[in-house]
């Protein structure tokens, strides 16, 4: 586990020097500040719409950061041979995959937390409300993006940056299109095995409802853990059979 944490720490320090993280953060500040300037949404819906827009922006920005950090991470480490100095230490290949995912996930946690604080600050300034429920939305987005990071890292053990980006976006699309793809097939195995990301659809209840319940959050966490475990396992297996 120590090796995994050391690798994750290295990923975090690398992310902190990347311009993309700061560009996205600046973009988030500008966008969050400009949400209240949008045309009026109608009486009574101004704050829910602010929350919805804030979460949508956070989701997009997080997606960009995940792809920027995960897509080329392992391929470039193999190409530059930085992986050689790591993998010739007593480190298993799956440690490498898990450490890479953990590092990206920690960076995402920091980025999403920063976005949420910025959104809260804007809400406090404009609407005189802290909007604590934004953290529930942030939690859901972080989990979904962490799942996506696990997939991206797993694919990157074998594929290049373009393959990773396309696979990740395809997975997002498929994961959120369950109703379209399996409509009318009843309660078949196909429905049960469908790689759905519906558990992470939290924008509506957070923005317009009363937030997410504890059982819902627990279900979401289980789905998150299951996806991450499967992707890290597959990534570890794929990487362990790769010649470097």
């Amino acid at each position: 586990m120590r090796a995994v944490l050391a690798l994750a720490n290295s990923i975090v320090s690398d992310a902190l020097r990347r311009r993309i993280v700061y560009v996205v953060a600046a973009f988030a500040v500008v966008m969050a500040a400009s949400i209240p300037a949008l045309p009026s949404y109608g009486v009574g819906v101004v704050q829910p719409v602010f929350r919805e827009a804030a979460l949508a922006l956070m989701w997009i920005a997080s997606l960009i950061v995940v792809l920027a950090l995960a897509a080329n991470r392992i391929p470039s480490e193999i190409e530059k041979r930085t992986a050689y100095s790591v993998l010739t230490k007593p480190v298993q290949r799956w440690h490498y995959v898990l450490g890479t995912w953990l590092g990206i996930t920690l960076v995402m946690a920091g980025v999403i937390a920063a976005f949420t604080v910025i959104d809260q600050a804007v809400a406090l300034l404009v609407y005189k409300q802290a909007m604590w429920q934004l953290w529930e939305g942030s939690f859901g987005i972080w989990m979904e993006m962490s799942v996506l990071a696990a997939l991206a890292v797993a694919v990157s053990t074998r594929g290049g940056a373009v393959v990773v980006a396309v696979s990740s976006l395809a997975f997002l699309f498929i994961g959120h299109s369950r109703e379209n793809f399996v409509r009318g097939v009843g309660d078949s195995v196909l429905v049960k095995l469908y790689p759905s990301l519906d558990a992470f659809n939290i924008v509506n209840p957070v923005a317009h409802g009363s937030g997410i319940s504890v059982p819902y959050a627990a279900t979401m966490t289980l789905v998150f853990l299951a996806y991450v475990a499967v992707f890290v396992l597959l990534g570890g297996l794929a990487f362990s059979t790769r010649d470097l």
Partner: protein
Amino acid sequence: MTADDAAIRIVGAHKTYPRTLTIPAREAVRDVSLTVKTGTVHGVLGPNGAGKTTTIKMLLGLVRPSGGQFEILGVPAARAASRRCLGFLPEQPYFPPQLTAKQAMRLYGRLLGMSKREIAEQTADLLREVGLHDRAETQLSRFSRGMLQRLGIAQALLGKPQVVVLDEPASGLDPVGQRDVRSIILGLREAGVTVLLSSHQLSEVEAICDRVSIFNRGTVAAEGHIDELLSIAGRSSFVVACLDRLPANVGPLAHDVHDAHGGLGFSALTSNIQLIVDAVYAEGGSVVSVTPARTSLEDYFTGLLEQSPAAEQEVA
């Protein structure tokens, strides 16, 4: 050599890279066996594509072997535990550029399971040994090629490994740096550390290696103690007295015949010594001296490759 005093043991290594859409299957290494005795410096030589890097990568778990057995200090190389007492310097090492030299050493120390105190102590010592003590806090993105090479050596020695694998350790270093590397390797040998050294610098290998394996076309073309290899390959110089001309059966074996000290001087294959000596004495002459003319490793190496017409063929 017994299996017990072997720090590295490779038996029947084989690697075939499978066919891809654009590249046909190719056999990079076939039936390579190699034993490196504990506490020795073993050189690995060969032209580009001879299979030496693939063999080293299989030993280190970076490439999956198609067949064969690999052991480091008696532990199968497929197990991560085999790398607990191993240090490796890759060819042209590169490190996370955002780290400082000290941070990079800390990262590798943590991967080795070392304590913070051990890492700090060894980092200071090793950076001093490779001449980077005044650059410990410098970001690696500002390091030159030679400085990265020095750091690569330092990280390979972190954790006081019992076996060190060095791939082109002098690459990118100035003459002073090359001398320092040679001194580090000799120091390791004195400390009982086993070193597997892959290098294109034949003079370096000749100066510091106890044994060498010469790879060619995916196999070990020659292996042995340097002195043995070079004397086997060499000729001996003869000086004989009391003869005006060479005996008839010696003539065809002698080369570069010349007058020497009132007798005759010539060179011949070392393997013909007995025959020549007997013939000289049978003709009433005497042998003044027989000096084994040791060839250089470079001559031996190029001679060996020239014997194989397809030596330049890319294999790995």
